[in-house]
């Protein structure tokens, strides 16, 4: 829109975007490098199993999450019963639970030494595992259950909105033509909600493909654990990159599917909303069934694990609440704070350029920068390591050449790599937030300012910044929370001796001492609850 916009604005945007997509391209580049024995060996031996496990896991989690979410979504959107108002937001609570934390809690609860099996043994007088059958939680099926429990809210949220937005007149028509609620669900609501469900399933599948901590803990070998082991075990970057490329293939096909579904979703959305008076009023028995299904789900996915964590945290408070806990929290906090600040600055720059530039191509940097969100933590870590390692070597070579002592691994050996990786992964959130704020600012405000003698810089400071403040804050908050939770990238990229809350929980859980990490886990969950409050507010606004 600013016809004479200085090229320097555009150039700055392109430079930042190039930096942020560097890991992705480096990864692809590295994946095509010839590799010594390792990848060939993997391919001949365990790779097929990894791939099959990953795909099976995606399939089971998608199915499980769908089956859990669908009844809840329909009940909340179309029925009226006691407790619905509270349940409709409480069902979002599991989103705050990282899957790995739920997995740790349930393992503690359900394995051989856990209270459940001990209780059964004492009741029935069994002595050894040979005496009875109890499903082993540390399996692919167990991992699928854990992931379904925490990921189903994605589908729930989208399906609920889809059910609510279905036109009132259609619902009336189906009732007048004698459809029972059940028939109306199968013949009308479900087919119309299909695109929204597809989007939800795609999101769940992507989260599943990215999961590292749960499968690693359950010792289920998948592609993500393979990347981790190949790098930390063999130190082979090329093989890790090749494995990562396979994951990318899966993730990008899921994104393609999601985009496709979203396009269709728009066709199905209508203006008129379901009114409260049009809800099905449930009978006593029906209410009981509905309440027990949703309540059970909430109990298993959130209340129980949270309660157990809480009791551990209280029981082991003395041991956990020490100096090192403060250090951990400080590490997590400062890391998240720096990341969210950087992400907001980048998002502001890229979206400002996109907004005021007369060149259509200037939308490219913000799009490119947003691709980072698709990279699972493990994949991203490898992608960051490839260029930064090269840079580190180059810096030291240069130092040698000049004749001064090399600084060592100043990039990969410090938190710089970690912050960079977090920015790549989470800048998309900030960009999305700024973008939606910009959409609410009328373009004529820009034109008015420009015709009244304001330079681009003044436009940004006097008009855009005050109006974007809320969007920037929301974006920063979301980036902050995601950075607190992110585990695999932190595990692979942290400097030696550096721990934050997530890696600390992982460490203790791996050592089967979850009790000691419970306090840190609680902090992560509580921080994760913050965006749900936001989400809930927008939901309330919706209904």
């Amino acid at each position: 829109m600013i016809l004479g916009l200085a090229r320097s604005w555009s150039l700055a945007g392109y430079a930042v975007a190039a930096l942020l997509v560097l890991p992705l391209f480096a990864l692809i580049f590295q994946a095509f490098q010839p590799d010594e024995a390792v990848f060939g060996h993997l391919m001949a031996t365990v790779l097929p199993t990894y791939i099959i496990n990953s795909l099976l896991l995606i399939f089971w989690v998608s199915l499980g999450a769908l089956l859990l979410a669908l009844p809840c979504a329909w009940l909340m959107a179309r029925c009226d019963f006691v407790g619905r108002r509270y349940l409709q937001w409480a069902l979002l609570l599991p989103l705050a639970m990282p899957a790995y934390i739920v997995a740790y809690v349930y393992t503690d609860l359900l394995d051989y030494a856990g209270p459940v099996q001990r209780g059964l043994r004492s009741i029935f007088g069994w002595d050894s595992p040979q005496d009875y059958f109890f499903p082993d939680i540390r399996t692919l099926g167990g991992a699928a259950c854990m992931l379904s429990l925490v990921l189903f809210p994605y589908i729930y949220l989208l399906a609920r909105t889809a059910f609510m937005e279905q036109s009132l007149s259609l619902a009336h028509a189906s009732r007048i033509m004698g459809c029972s609620p059940w028939q109306s669900f199968w013949r009308l609501s479900l087919p119309m909600a299909r695109p929204a469900l597809a989007v939800g399933v795609a999101l769940v599948a992507m989260e599943t493909a990215a999961d590292f901590a749960t499968v690693n803990y359950f010792a289920v070998p998948t592609l993500t654990t393979a990347v981790y082991d190949t790098w930390l075990g063999y130190g082979n970057l090329t093989a890790a990159a090749k494995l990562s490329a396979i994951i990318l293939l899966v993730v990008f096909s899921l994104i393609g599917f999601e985009r496709f579904a979203r396009r269709k979703q728009q066709l199905f959305q209508k203006q008129s909303r379901i009114q409260v008076t049009d809800l099905y009023r449930l009978s006593m028995t029906q209410t009981l069934v509905a309440l027990s299904f949703c309540g059970m789900l909430l109990l298993l996915a959130f209340l129980l694990p949270f309660g157990i964590l809480l009791s551990y945290a209280i029981g082991y408070f003395e041991q956990s609440w020490d100096k090192s806990f403060w250090q951990l929290s400080l590490n997590s906090l400062s890391l998240a704070l720096i990341t969210s600040l950087l992400c907001c600055l980048i998002a502001l720059l890229l979206m400002f350029v996109r907004r005021i530039s007369p060149r259509q191509s200037d939308a490219l940097p913000s799009r490119l920068a947003s691709t980072g969100y698709a990279l699972p933590g493990t994949v991203l870590a490898i992608g960051v390591l490839v260029p930064l390692t090269m840079l580190d070597f180059a810096i030291n070579d240069l130092a040698d050449l000049v004749g001064i002592a090399g600084p060592g691994l100043i990039l990969t050996g410090s938190v710089i790599a970690l912050i960079f990786a977090f920015c790549v992964r989470f800048v998309a959130i900030a960009i999305g937030s700024v973008e939606s704020s910009y959409k609410r600012i009328s373009p004529s405000l820009d034109m008015v300012s420009l015709t009244m003698g304001q330079t681009p810089r003044q436009l940004l400071r006097r008009v855009h910044l005050p109006l974007l403040a809320k969007g920037l804050f929301a974006g920063a908050l979301l980036v902050f929370i995601e950075s607190m939770k992110e585990l695999p990238a932190a595990l692979l990229l942290r400097p030696i001796g550096f721990e934050n809350l997530a890696t600390y929980v992982f460490q203790f859980a791996s050592d089967e001492k979850l009790e000691h990490g419970a306090l840190a886990a609680i902090v992560i969950v509580l921080v994760g609850l913050v965006p749900l409050i936001y989400l809930n507010r927008s939901l309330e606004h919706h209904s």
């Binding site: 016809l3 034109m447 009244m452």
Partner: protein, 359 residues
Amino acid sequence: MTSTLKLKQIHSDYQGQQVLKGLSLTLAQGEILALLGPSGCGKTTLLRAVAGLQAISQGEIQINGRIVSGNSQFVPSEQRGIGMIFQDYALFPHLTVAENILFGVARLSGAERQARLDEMLALVKLEGLAQRYPHELSGGQQQRVSIARALAYEPQLLLLDEPFSNIDAQVRYEMMAEIRSILKQRNVSAVFVTHSKDEAFVFADTLAIFNQGIIVQHGSAEALYAAPNSRYVADFLGSGNYLPAAVFDGHSVVTPIGHLTSLTPLNLPSEFSGTVFLRPQQLTLSADEQGVGTITERRFLGAFCHYWVKIEAASHAYYVEVRSQMMQLTIGQKVGVTTEPHSLVLFESSAYSNCGDPI
């Protein structure tokens, strides 16, 4: 007469489509010009080109004799001294009325700023609302703030992009008259974009009818209405009837309703045959059993009646719309059709296909 704005043969593309195709226009100092055309004809593109928010590919734009867009020159928006008023008012939601009005006012002392503010508030009759935020004002008040803001900047030229379409129909014309008098009072030149001929008639001194990237006719509202130079202009400014016409002599033509005589000489070749354009109120009806017309439809509209009259002549049937004070005519009745004396409008057209059906 000095000209505030001069457009010479400008071309402009928007998203790969040529929107302006060699457009020329001149605006005198203090003149209010309405750019009138259907949606999507390039009116807004033209305003944006003048404001420097849209590039032109050819031609030249001058403001007060200075080339602002041209072959190798380009003056950025912020240096053109233009005020712009939008359909959505474009008030800054985070600033008060006072801050909005003073947004573009720089390099003035505190007292001068206050004086300017007071003057503007008085001008748009918003005294006492300086500390309100835009969302606390009605639509009409918001529009007045945007006008005050544009005028406080003391622009050489004011551009208004459909500024009244969001205002309630009941107060719209009153407000247009009010703003017109403010602009006249301060002798501000303005270009006003609209798709409504009624708004253009009320607000502007001159009209420029816009079609497919060029100006098809430019002149006073009365001139354009009475003597449109094309069927496009004629239709755009109001409905009318077309009847085949052949020259009879220097002042009259032969048509299916008989000889029509013009108040002014026709200056047409004697072999001319085309169509004559007649507004509904230029026709008069009389109950006449021997008349050429038959009433086919009647619509009562209070002060007058609209009749559709079928005229049969020379094996063709023509339908004309007549606006008449006579209320008593009924469907099926035979009527005589004559015209009020006026200067006839004739268009070249060889075929009658679009104004008559074979019987």
